[in-house]
Subunit: 81 residues, 2 copies
């Protein structure tokens, strides 16, 4: 099973990488760009995991390693059974 | 309009960050993890852009700044009109 986890900075947290990308795009002439935020996407290829089990498993992985709950939020979906 | 661009390393390109995350998850006891790949997600908040214009615009931004076509591939979708 393949799971895609998307990790973003909370909207209240300043995103310097996003600001840098935003500035760079504007300098290139893309004046339509109002704001940019940058996050991570993590693809997990999991072995022998059922649909019931996967929810607990992914939440546990996020809590223990993938996500810093102080500044980040996440959501995930199954991209391949 | 808000656009989400997802940038991943091509599958033929080695992903050291993904390998590190994979090893760390296994060390934490998540033996079900077969492989991990890590990519970027970029949220663009765009001003005054129509549906016709957005496709050219986003592809141009990716070509000029956001994506390295030698090692990365991307896809994007509109998350908010």
């Amino acid at each position: 099973m393949k799971v895609r986890v998307i990790v973003n900075l909370k909207s209240s947290v300043l995103d310097p990488q996003g600001k840098a990308v935003c500035g760079a795009l504007r300098n290139l002439g893309f004046s339509q760009v109002r704001d940019v935020r940058v996050g991570k996407v993590i693809y997990l290829d999991l072995d022998d995991v059922g649909r019931e089990e996967v929810e607990t498993l992914v939440d546990e992985m996020c809590a223990k390693l993938l996500v810093n709950p102080v500044i980040e939020e996440y959501h995930w979906d199954i991209v391949e059974e």
